[in-house]
């Protein structure tokens, strides 16, 4: 059975059908792309998957567990992590602390231990530091662990967001336009990183992207949305040569 099963997912904002009858089936360990023209409902689909919006209809099942009606924090615990189209870091906190926030539910000690820094505090904080640095190393950010997140250059902020999402130990990672605003070199580097984390952390990745080089370069399967509806799905080469998809992007 697939890791993520989405059936007949839909949401309306007033009279607007932002997402209509979306069906997806994502296999464990795969790297899947979600593409479509601007306003097609891609980010809305992400927001439905992560519980930011409650769907008007349809089901979302992750690893046999129904996610509809759950709050974002619970969905995070169930195993979906995400990044945002417009970067949302904890900007006034250090790079290290950004990742440590995401470890909140994985390395625990009590509030009393927080007050007085006694008991398990030192041991657990050390464990957190080690785990966070380990993740930062993958993204080559460990040298900047003590820098404020807002002082990082743009490309590294994107990477830090992915690092933070990974720290929640997700089964499924959603990346919302990870290459937005990056130059070709940075995009190439990002493609390598994405493939690396898939192999290293054994996770499944679903990404939204407009950069067709990235999409065709690393995605194994594609879903195409247009006006909230599914236009096509299949292997990247087939989908990107589909006349319907080309029309949606370029017009008649």
């Amino acid at each position: 059975m697939a890791l993520l099963e989405v059936k007949h997912l839909g949401i309306s904002f007033g009279g607007l059908r932002a997402v209509d009858d979306l069906n997806m089936s994502i296999e464990q360990g795969s790297l899947v792309g979600l593409i479509g023209p601007n306003g097609a409902g891609k980010t809305t689909a992400f927001n439905l998957l992560t519980g930011v919006y409650a769907p008007s209809e349809g089901t979302i099942v992750l690893d046999g567990e129904n996610l509809v009606g759950k709050a974002p924090t619970e969905i995070c615990k169930s195993g979906i992590a995400r990044t945002f189209q417009n970067i949302r870091l904890f900007s006034q906190m250090t790079v290290l602390d950004n990742v440590k926030v995401a470890l909140h539910n994985h390395v625990e000690y009590s509030l009393a231990e927080s007050f007085f820094h006694l008991g398990k505090y030192s041991k657990k904080e050390k464990e957190m530091d080690e785990r966070a640095i380990e993740i930062l190393k993958v993204f080559d950010l460990d040298g900047q662990a003590d820098v404020l997140a807002s002082n990082l250059p743009y490309g590294k902020q994107r990477k830090l967001e992915i690092a933070r999402a990974l720290a929640t130990e997700p089964k499924l990672l959603l990346l919302d336009e990870p290459a937005a605003g990056m130059n070709p070199n940075e995009t190439q580097e990002l493609m390598d990183t994405i493939q690396l984390i898939r192999d290293k952390f054994h996770i499944t990745i679903l990404l939204i992207e407009h950069d067709m080089k990235l999409v065709s370069g690393i995605c194994e399967y594609l879903y195409v949305l247009n006006f909230g509806m599914e236009l096509a799905h299949g292997e990247p080469t087939d989908v990107l040569n589909d006349p319907k998809v080309i029309t949606a992007y370029l017009g008649e």
Binding site: R88, L89, H104, E108, S114, E125, R164
Partner: protein, 323 residues
């Protein structure tokens, strides 16, 4: 890494001891007049208030204008408790502190649950409203003495009891600055920086907002108890929004989210009106000018350069360690 932490702990302990020594020398060395002696405890109380509000304004990032309300709840609860008891003063005060803190924390929870769904300006106005409601209710109730005030409160926290008060000031600073450097504190800061991202990494936003509110309320309540036993008579009018603003000014002046700054600002702003007493009519004018000057200094290029230099030094030392 560990060594660095130990070093800062040692420095803080030394600072705390030096501050204690200086104040004790001032009290028992006969260097201070009665007037100056009388502001020692208010300084301590304001430090507690400023540090507890710092948690909300600086770290949770929510502007609240009802801090005096929680202080008053603590003050009345504590004073009523010690008035009812008949034990040695220190023990009475200890029980009063606990009761005052807990009652204020409970009220923070009751008020916080609905109010913390709001954000920004709305939250500020609603907390301002709640502060005023608390004041009015105390004014109306019989057992609080109403507008006449609650009198006959033992003077348990005057300067002779400085050591006792000082321990609780240190406790407040310790707990809040420790909290900020823990997983719970990081969650609180994450809510401040980006609550959507915080939710996405599994932080329950309302839980941590409420937690910060309750902890802050608890210490404000304790500060209120000291206040009650310092002035001896409580009047609802003492806890109006002016008091809340006064505490807020200390936090802002100290630099939002800077506990040390809040402590220094609290001491200076408490002492300032007394120091300026000799200026008679110009007192409040000078107070305002000093406030403006301090704010300007805080945002000046000179100070920014100072901070930058310090950060650079820090970054370099980290790099060296790495090599």
């Amino acid at each position: 890494m560990n060594k660095k932490i130990n070093k800062s702990v040692i420095i803080n302990v030394i600072l705390a001891l030096v501050a204690y020594g200086v104040v004790m020398a001032l009290i028992y060395g006969g260097l201070l007049g009665r007037q100056a002696m009388s502001i020692i405890i208010p300084c301590c109380i304001n430090v507690m208030l400023a540090v507890s509000l710092c948690l909300l304004v600086g770290f949770l990032g929510e502007l609240t204008l009802g801090h005096a309300g929680f202080m008053s709840i603590g003050a009345y609860a504590g004073a009523l408790t010690t008035n009812a008891l008949d034990l040695p003063p220190q023990i009475e005060l200890l029980i009063g502190l606990l009761v005052g803190g807990i009652v204020a924390a409970v009220f923070s929870l009751i008020i916080g649950l609905p109010v913390l769904r709001l954000k920004g300006d709305y939250l500020a106005i609603v907390t301002l409203g709640f502060g005023e409601i608390i004041k009015s209710v105390i004014n109306f109730l019989g057992f609080t003495g109403g507008a006449k005030g609650l009198s006959g409160i033992g003077a348990y926290s005057n300067y002779k009891n400085f050591t006792f008060v000082y321990i609780f000031v240190l406790l407040t600073i310790l707990v809040i600055s420790n909290l900020v450097k823990s997983r719970h504190g990081r969650a609180i800061c994450a809510v401040r920086d980006n609550y959507i991202a915080a939710e996405a990494v599994g932080i329950k936003v309302s839980k941590f907002k409420t937690m910060a509110f309750v902890i802050s309320g608890f210490f404000a309540g304790m500060a209120g108890v000291f206040y009650a036993h310092n002035v001896g008579i409580l009047k609802p009018g003492n806890f109006d929004y002016n008091k809340s603003i006064e505490i807020l000014v200390m936090v802002v002046l100290g630099g939002m989210g800077n506990i040390k700054g809040a402590i220094i600002a609290a001491v200076i702003l408490t002492a300032l009106p007394e120091v300026l007493r000799s200026a008679a009519d110009f007192r409040m004018l000078l107070y305002a000018i000093v406030l403006i000057a301090m704010m300007l200094f805080n945002n000046s290029k000179f100070r920014m350069a100072m901070i930058e230099k310090r950060n650079l030094k820090k970054a370099m030392s980290i790099q060296k360690e790495g090599e």
